[in-house]
C-alpha cells in the first residue's frame, strides 16, 4: 500500500516531466524547478540543522561501546569510548564512512543453518554501504557537468569507476552498484515482514525516487544517448546563474532525470533523508565520554527543592539519637 502509493508518486513525476517536455515547458522544468529545488534544499537543510542546534545538549550521554578510560594499566578503547576530540573524530569517521554500528550485526561464531540466512543483518550493512558510497561517487562524477575544466580528481574517479572498460561509453561500476543496492534495500522492505511492518510510505518514496533517478541516468548514458554537449552547456549556464535553455532537442529522458533530481532535493529537508546531516549531531555518538572528567553544563539547569539534611534530621532526630547516630542539633 505504502509502496504502491510511493511508486505512483514517482510515476506521476516522470509523466509530468515527459508531458512538460513535449508541451514546451522546458523553462519551468529546466530553470524554475531546479532553482526552486536547490533553494529549498539549501534553505530547508540549513533551517533543519539550525532547528536541531537550537535545542541544547543538556547531558553528556554518549553510548559507550568500549572500555572506559580508567586506571592507566587498563587498555582504554579510545575510539568506542572516546575522551578526546580525536577519539570522537575517529568514532564519527568509522560511523559515517564505514557504518560501524551496522557492522556490529555480524556474528563470528556459533551459527547454525545456511550462512545466507544468519548473515541477513550483515547484508544490510553491505548494501547500505554500497548504496551510499556509489551515490556519493556518482554525485561527485556529476560535477563534471558543473565545471568548465573537469578537475583531475574527478577524471581519476571516473577512470577508476570505469576500470573494467566494458562497452562504450564505458560502464560505470557505481551505476550498477547503485541500482542493485536500491533494489535490495527495496526488496528487504517488502519481503521481510518485520521490516515491512515498520515501513512507512516515506521509506519507499525515496527509494523509488533514487531508483528512478538512477534508471533515467543509465538510460541517458548507455541507451537513449542524449545530446551531451547540449546538456553540459545547459548545466553550465545553470551554475553560472544565467540559464540558457538548450537550443536543440536533448531528449525527454533528460527532463525526467532533472525533475526527479529536483524532487529529491526539494524533498530532502522534510524527510528522513536529513539523517545525512543528523548523524553528525547525534549526542550518543558525537560526545566525548567525559562525564566524570569535566563538568558538562546544562544551559537550562535550574535549582530544585530538595529534602535537606536538616528536614531529614527534624523528622528523625529522636530515633537517630536513640540509635547513637550523630545529630547536628541536640
Amino acid at each position: 500500500m505504502g509502496a504502491l502509493l510511493s511508486f505512483i508518486g514517482v510515476l506521476v513525476l516522470v509523466l509530468v516531466a515527459v508531458i512538460g517536455a513535449k508541451a514546451n515547458m522546458q523553462f519551468i522544468l529546466g530553470v524554475a524547478v531546479p532553482y526552486a529545488a536547490a533553494a529549498t534544499f539549501v534553505i530547508g537543510l540549513v533551517m533543519r540543522v539550525m532547528k536541531w542546534a537550537s535545542s541544547p545538549v543538556p547531558f553528556r550521554i554518549p553510548t559507550t561501546c568500549g572500555q572506559q578510560k580508567t586506571l592507566p594499566w587498563i587498555k582504554h578503547d579510545w575510539v568506542e569510548n572516546p575522551t578526546t576530540i580525536w577519539g570522537v573524530l575517529a568514532r564519527m569517521f568509522f560511523e559515517v564512512f564505514l557504518f560501524r554500528s551496522l557492522f556490529r550485526n555480524t556474528k563470528t561464531e556459533l551459527h547454525e543453518g545456511p550462512k545466507l540466512v544468519y548473515g541477513s543483518a550483515k547484508w544490510l550493512w553491505f548494501f547500505g554501504l554500497v548504496f551510499h558510497w556509489s551515490f556519493l561517487v556518482i554525485a561527485i562524477r556529476h560535477l563534471r557537468f558543473f565545471s568548465e575544466q573537469v578537475p583531475g580528481l574527478i577524471q581519476l574517479l571516473e577512470s577508476l569507476d570505469n576500470f573494467l572498460q566494458i562497452g562504450a561509453p564505458g560502464l560505470y561500476l557505481t551505476d550498477l552498484a547503485l541500482i542493485s543496492a536500491v533494489t535490495v534495500l527495496f526488496l528487504r522492505r517488502v519481503v521481510l515482514p518485520n521490516i515491512k511492518y515498520i515501513s512507512l510510505p516515506a521509506d519507499y518514496f525515496p527509494l523509488f525516487l533514487i531508483g528512478g533517478i538512477a534508471v533515467s541516468g543509465v538510460l541517458m548514458r548507455y541507451f537513449t544517448k542524449v545530446h551531451i554537449v547540449g546538456v553540459k552547456q545547459f548545466t553550465m549556464s545553470l551554475v553560472s546563474l544565467s540559464p540558457k535553455l538548450p537550443q536543440s532537442e536533448i531528449g525527454a529522458i533528460f527532463w525526467v532525470h532533472l525533475l526527479l533530481v529536483s524532487a529529491l532535493f526539494a524533498y530532502f529537508p522534510f524527510s528522513k533523508l536529513v539523517h545525512m546531516a543528523g548523524v553528525f549531531m547525534s549526542p550518543t555518538r558525537n560526545l566525548a565520554s567525559t562525564g566524570r572528567i569535566k563538568r558538562h553544563i546544562n544551559p537550562w539547569n535550574y535549582p530544585v527543592k530538595i529534602h535537606t539534611y536538616e528536614e531529614y534530621e527534624n523528622d528523625f532526630r529522636d530515633k537517630m539519637k536513640a540509635a547513637g547516630l550523630p545529630v547536628e542539633k541536640e
Binding site: V117, Y118, S120, L192, N194, Y197
Partner: protein, 177 residues
Amino acid sequence: MKLDQILEKNKAVILQGWVEIILKAYPDETSRFIKSRKDRFDNPVGHAISTGVEGIFNCLVEGGNERIASFIDDIIRIRAVQDFRPGQAVGFMFQLKSVIRDVVADDLARQDAGLVRELLEFESRIDEQAKLAFDIYMKCRERLYELKTDEFKRNTFRLLQQANLICEVEGQDASAN
C-alpha cells in the same frame, strides 16, 4: 512401508510443517524473525523451538523417553510465560498429529491396516507426551508464583530477621536460605 520408515524418510518435511504450525501462533513479522535468525543467543525462542521439535520427534520415533522431557521443557518453559492459554501452550504437541497425517495420507488411502494401527499407536505416544507437556506447563506456572514469593522473601528477609531479633522471638536462625 512401515510407519517409522515413513517418518524417518519425511522427517525434514514433518519438522518443517510442525514448526510452521507452532509459529502461526505469533504475528507474521515475529514468526519471520524467529525463523530467520539462527543464532541461538540472538534468537533463543527460535532456537528452542527448532531444536526442541527435532528432539521430541526423535524421541517419539526412537522411543527414548528420558531426554524427551528436557526438549518439551525447552519449548513449554517459553510458552508458559508468553501469554498462551494453557491449552494453547501445550497444544503444539497435538499438532504434530495433523502434520504426520498429511504425510501418511497417501499410504493410508491404500487401506493399509497395519499402518493404521501403527499410526494410532504413535498418536497415543504423542498423547502420552502431551500429558507430560501439561505437567511441565503447570510446573512452570507454579514456579513463576514461587519465584514471586521467593523474591519477596529475599527482599524482606533481613528486615523480618531484625524484627525477630528485636522481639527476641528466636535465637539463631539459619541464614543460608
